[in-house]
Amino acid sequence: AQSVAQPEDQVNVAEGNPLTVKCTYSVSGNPYLFWYVQYPNRGLQFLLKYITGDNLVKGSYGFEAEFNKSQTSFHLKKPSALVSDSALYFCAVPLEGIGGSYIPTFGRGTSLIVHP
């Protein structure tokens, strides 16, 4: 079955350390993969997406994500975390639904907490 998953409910990291927020997927064919971030009391904001090409995608606020086809993963990374990066992060992928349309499908979110 097609799906997207975020295996960690919460990630804790110290400021200045590298961070990784994990996402795995299961789709038929080539996936389109997205990361969004939600700050408190705000809507989701687009960070980056992978469509094709270079496996390392660079996005907003210094974030990047690595597409790994063999591991069916699209982990979000940042070399040096900031306290202001603390937020809820969602991985998303359009999955084919009934009738051939594509349904935007989100993981359950990972809360990133960056400690000073």
Partner: protein, 116 residues
């Protein structure tokens, strides 16, 4: 450029009452999506408009939910009658382009609905 707006930001109603949520997308965005997030779970797709037409409403939970987008501008989502399990945060998002959801979506801040 104004972002996606949603009204109200919060709504508390009793079981059996009716509530109407409104979403104003970014001007010129043909695609409008409704989502719901219940108690820290996944963001669930409800439906997708392209202009005034319902492209996909496979995520609508049941016939107590009615979405409209008259004139292809703002959209409303009515819940009638509301049940306890309808509580959650309802997000609206808009995007440009035609076809599958490969483009980034712009999200509103959400409406938090509480059914007592």
């Amino acid at each position: 450029e104004a972002g996606v707006t949603q009204f109200p930001s919060h709504s508390v109603i009793e079981k059996g009452q009716t509530v109407t949520l409104r979403c104003d997308p970014i001007s010129g965005h043909d695609n409008l999506y409704w989502y719901r997030r219940v108690m820290g779970k996944e963001i669930k797709f409800l439906l997708h408009f392209v202009k005034e037409s319902k492209q996909d409403e496979s995520g609508m939970p049941n016939n107590r939910f009615l979405a409209e987008r008259t004139g292809g501008t703002y959209s409303t989502l009515k819940v009638q009658p509301a049940e306890l399990e309808d509580s959650g945060v309802y997000f609206c998002a808009s995007s440009q382009g035609v076809g599958p959801p490969w483009n980034e979506q712009f999200f509103g801040p959400g409406t938090r609905l509480t059914v007592l």
